[in-house]
């Protein structure tokens, strides 16, 4: 009988980091299904490209860093980053955009900062921001029109052709997202005029979302599932959504001059951002109060960037900006330790 000598506790929950990542990936499925249903197979192809790139990049880097490749690949973190990135990208962006974004996310945003757990910025969003700034044209013209608006939908071969070789046929089925479109049109037209626009052709005010509401619902569902599984706490998604709703209803109540609330909440990457990107544990705040501040900050920034910025969506930049602040927020929002009268604020002063 050989007895182990180990420090307590001797039992741990059999719930690993890989389990966390797997659950998150699982929770993305409803949203991905909705995306595919409304926008064709583009995202699936992008997921494939991004995932392959990410895994190859991860393996290569791990090899360079002389780490056990299999052990680290099994934590699914690279895969999750790739999927989050892919579903944020326009579905019919050219393949190299995805490869650059995915590779950059893994190699620079993750590993150059020390690997999983050390990266201060959300790698998927870094990759996204990079290609958005570098290749604005494909990034803004590669969203497909919702299938509702297309005669036959988009076939797999059409999708593959557009992504991998010829982009000639792309104009046939791509267009900006309704959020982006509305934003640009509202500057010159009223709500009714906007709805007469081809993108919203024939739709009622209530159908303005063109299928995005289902995508958002899918991500919301996945998010609620993770909440129930206690993968993250409610603080970040709730404060993010609440602050965005408040901003939109206080400053943008007039749909003749502003993007309406429904589009803000359901018409873009808001739900994906609130439940899957802002909650990325590595880069978010970790204290309860900190999470509230962090989420609210993202919500406000999303509104600000969407309203006054020129990019099609703002989730990535808002998240990255708040990533910056997260460690600082954490230091100033420490909980009050049991038995202490006051919570510690900030780091200990060097004397």
């Amino acid at each position: 009988m050989k007895l182990l000598t180990l420090s307590s506790p001797h039992t741990t929950r059999s719930f690993s980091t890989a389990d966390v990542m797997r659950l998150v990936i699982l929770a993305l499925i409803p949203g991905i299904i909705a995306l595919t249903y409304f926008f064709g197979p583009g995202h699936l192809i992008q997921i494939f490209i991004a995932a392959t790139t990410a895994i190859v990049a991860e393996a290569g880097i791990l090899k360079l860093r002389k780490r056990p490749i299999g052990f680290y690949l099994k934590d699914y973190s690279a895969l999750l980053t790739a999927i989050l990135l892919a579903i944020s990208l326009p579905p019919y962006a050219p393949y190299w955009v995805t490869i650059v974004a995915s590779g950059f996310a893994i190699i620079v945003a993750k590993h150059l900062y020390g690997g999983l757990g050390q990266n201060p910025f959300n790698p998927a969003m870094i990759g996204f921001a990079l290609v958005l700034v570098s290749f604005p044209v494909p990034m803004t013209t590669s969203w497909s029109a919702p299938s509702e608006l297309l005669e036959n939908g988009i076939s797999l071969s059409e999708a593959l052709t557009v992504i991998f070789s010829s982009r000639e046929s792309i104009d046939a089925f791509t267009m900006a997202t309704p959020l982006d479109e509305y934003k640009h049109l509202v500057a010159i037209s009223t709500a009714d005029e906007i709805l007469a626009n081809p993108l919203f052709k024939g739709t009622e005010q209530s159908q303005i979302l063109l299928g995005w509401e289902w995508v958002s619902a899918g991500f919301l569902l996945g998010g609620l599932f993770l909440l129930w599984k206690k993968i993250f706490t409610w603080h970040i998604p709730v404060s993010l959504l609440v602050s965005l709703i408040l901003c939109s209803s206080i400053f943008g109540w007039d749909s003749d001059t502003n993007v309406p609330l429904t589009l803000h909440i359901l018409g873009g990457a808001t739900m994906l951002g609130a439940f899957f990107i802002a909650t990325d544990p590595v880069t978010a705040s970790t204290t309860h109060l900190g999470k509230l501040i962090y989420g609210a900050g993202i919500g406000i920034l999303i509104y600000v960037i969407r309203t006054w910025g020129s990019y099609p969506d703002a989730v990535a930049f808002a998240v990255l900006l708040m990533n910056f602040a997260a460690p600082f927020i954490d230091q100033y929002t420490q909980p009050r330790t049991y038995g202490h009268k006051k919570a510690v604020r900030g780091l200990a002063k060097k004397d």
């Binding site: 307590s8 980091t17 993250f232």
Partner: protein
């Protein structure tokens, strides 16, 4: 139904309970082991001291090691036998270390020594009860092993609530559960005793709601206590680890937090473990010291997991064989629970007062820890931490040995419950990191203390050295000053010397004068001789005499010169120091005047002589005379001035003058009396007496005048 409102503590986890395995069988007693090994340090506080020697035979319940000081506990022989060793043995400690143990080889008779409980203990004094608890060597049986008498010796006015910790929140352990089920009455009686001691307003027994039978048994037992004066209440609390942590249980039952660095008594609470209550009951009512405890033996490798009433000192291997444990299946042997217990390396480790559980776990049951992964900052640990710490931050600080930040983030408040490590998806042994860091902090503090002391010592030494140097310097300076002073004094005295010799030159002057006189007479004689020789026509003689004359004249000149110089010096001196150096009195001044006058007279005489002789010294003597005249004038003037001052100043004090007047008056009166008497008797002394009287009267007048003058 709980009558009080429960509060929830933050964090906590729900690990699989694994308690059913060991509750199917009742508490059993084991057959006597061959040997018992009793570590002398089974409690918090000072080690007890063995009071037996190898070879001594002891009876069950006899004291074998004596408490040292107040925070310490006695140790008794759990059974009768012979002391066969007092030496280092492996003890129940996380590090598997050895310590002094008393080994008793049992005789198998299990003969009790004479024991005596306290009759009518409910009427007994608190101090008597505490003394009995202390004598019985009772320590907290929940885990920490703090001597119970110390805890019970609180100011009774401070304690508002007595909390009995029967939560038993750790998985696997069922010792308290079984105790309550089987000995509910004794437990309640034990609680009553504590209540007599600390006199709380009410008492809450906190039991996790996963022990319905224990709760029922306690409630049933409570029914027998119709005079439930202290308001004992059984409170079912929600099952959540670590609700049995003292601080957490207090929070659940009272909503209050024990202040950091404080004690429960600071918020009016005393907490006792339910097993301790049982031990107290046995000690007080029967006089049985703490020699056994209830211990759960469980784990997948045990064929027959159950609870035992185990004699202290029983080797763990005896417990394993009593439960038919498959030794080859045991992968981890844990003393205590799976959350906070520690692994044993040696099955010879004896059961001690705080051993509540032995888990012989198989590999499947408690698998070897998975490889540690990176912290993904998922925050699950934060959610689980009952102390509301930020375990992942503490982890980062621990990993980077940032003791300062770890301290600032209250690592000291970590109760090492293991909840954070339990939930961590990255399998990070967080508690191990914290223990290490706590150790480092302790070490650093100790080092700091040491270095502070060293620094203090060093600084003290520096200060001392500086002081010594300063003293030396001061001494040196003082010496130098003294030397300089002396030098200065010397100079001063040298400077004064000529002055003090202001009279000395006078002596010198006389000497010089004599020389001059001698020279003058020699000249005179020589001249006479020359004249005689010329008359006699002795030219040779004349030449010779003339030479001698020249010599004498030379001498005379020298002497005159010397006199002049001496006089000059004498004149300068009194002007500078004379007045200061010598106290001036009219007599002295008078003397000076006299001296100057006599010298003037001499000088005049000489001058006349010289003039008569037609001598060459006439001029010199003339000057000398003038000078002497000036000096006489000076001296006279000084005297006059002095006298004037003297009279101007009220030098004679009024009282003295009055005295004089009175004295004169008395004398006048007496003289008058005598005169009258003489006149009556017609004596011939009348005229003499008359003159005397007149004299006295004039004197009186003088004195009266002086007084009048002075008091003006």
């Amino acid at each position: 139904m709980n009558l009080i409102t429960l509060h929830e503590f933050k964090g906590g986890i729900h690990p699989p309970e694994n308690k059913e395995q060991s509750t199917s069988l009742p508490i059993s007693t084991m057959k006597l082991p061959e040997k018992l090994v009793l570590p002398i340090a089974q409690h918090i506080g000072a080690q007890s001291k063995p009071v037996v020697n190898v070879g001594d035979s002891v009876l069950k319940g006899e004291i074998i090691a004596q408490a040292q000081g107040f925070v310490s506990a006695n140790l008794h022989a759990p059974s009768s036998g012979t002391i066969t060793a007092i030496e280092d043995r492996v003890i129940a400690h996380p590090s598997g270390m050895s310590d002094i143990c008393i080994e008793i080889t049992l005789d198998g008779k299990d003969t009790w020594t004479e024991i005596q409980g306290i009759d009518n203990y409910l009427e007994a004094d608190a101090s008597e009860l505490i003394a009995k608890i202390q004598a019985s060597g009772i320590t907290g049986l929940g885990g920490a092993g703090f001597p119970t008498h110390v805890k019970a010796s609180v100011d009774e006015s401070k304690i508002d609530t007595l909390i009995i910790n029967a939560a038993e929140c750790e998985p696997y352990i069922t010792a308290d559960d079984m105790l309550m089920r089987e000995h509910a009455n004794a437990v309640i009686k034990g609680i009553e005793i504590i209540e007599r001691i600390v006199k709380p307003k009410h008492c809450l027994i906190g039991v996790e709601d996963n022990k319905p039978q224990a709760i029922a048994a306690l409630n049933e037992a409570l029914k027998n206590f119709t005079d439930n004066t202290f308001n004992i209440q059984v409170v079912a609390i929600p099952t959540k680890y670590p609700s049995g942590g003292e601080k957490q249980l207090i929070e659940i039952l009272s909503g209050k937090e024990v202040p950091a660095g404080g004690l429960p008594s600071d918020i009016g609470i005393l907490c006792q473990n339910v097993g301790t209550c049982f031990a107290i009951y046995k000690a007080i009512s029967k006089g049985e010291p703490l020699i056994s405890r209830i211990t759960t033996v469980t784990g997948e490798a045990c064929r027959q997991p159950q609870n035992f009433e185990v004699l202290l000192g029983t080797p763990v291997k005896d417990l394993l064989s009593a439960t038919h444990t498959q030794l080859e299946q045991v992968n981890r042997l844990i003393m205590g629970g799976p959350m906070m217990g520690f692994t044993l390396e040696d099955t010879n480790t004896p059961v001690v007062k705080s051993t509540n559980c032995i888990i012989a776990s198989s590999k499947q049951e408690l698998p070897d820890p998975a490889m540690e992964q990176a912290c993904i900052r998922c925050g699950m640990c934060t959610e689980a931490c009952p102390a509301q710490l930020l375990p992942q931050q503490l982890y980062w600080f621990s990993k980077s040995s940032n003791l300062e930040q770890a301290t600032a983030h209250n690592i000291a408040d970590c109760i090492e419950c293991g909840a954070c490590a339990y939930v961590c998806p990255s399998n990070i042994p967080l508690v191990q990191y914290y223990r290490h860091t706590k150790g480092e902090i302790k070490q650093a503090n100790a080092d700091k203390l040491k270095s502070d002391r060293a620094k203090e010592r060093f600084e003290a030494r520096l200060a001392r050295q500086e002081r010594e140097a300063a003293e030396k310097e001061a001494k040196r300076k003082a010496r130098a000053e003294a030397a300089a002073k002396k030098q200065a004094e010397k100079k001063a005295t040298e400077a004064i010397a000529p002055a003090t010799s202001a009279d000395a030159p006078a002596a010198d002057l006389e000497l010089l004068q004599k020389k001059l006189d001698a020279a003058q007479s020699a000249v005179k004689k020589a001249k006479e001789k020359i004249a005689a020789a010329e008359e006699a026509g002795d030219s040779d003689k004349v030449a010779l005499l003339k030479g001698a004359l020249a010599k004498s004249q030379e001498k005379m000149k020298e002497a005159a010169k010397a006199i002049a110089e001496a006089k000059k010096a004498a004149k300068a001196a009194p002007a500078t120091t004379g007045a200061a150096a010598v106290e001036m009195t009219p007599e002295r001044m008078q003397n000076k005047v006299d001296l100057a006058e006599s010298r003037l007279a001499t000088a005049k005489k000489r001058l006349e002589e010289a003039q008569a002789n037609n001598s060459e010294q006439v001029d010199a003597l003339n000057t000398a005379v003038e000078k002497q005249q000036a000096r006489v004038a000076e001296a006279k003037q000084a005297l006059a001035e002095f006298l004037k001052q003297e009279s101007a100043a009220p030098s004679v004090d009024l009282d003295a003058l009055k005295q004089k007047v009175l004295a004169a008056q008395t004398r006048v009166d007496k003289a008058q009396e005598r005169l009258d008497m003489a006149k009556q008797q017609e004596l011939d002394t009348v005229s003499a007496l008359q003159t005397g009287l007149e004299k006295q009267q004039s004197k009186l007048k003088e004195a009266q005048d002086a007084l009048a003058e002075a008091s003006k």
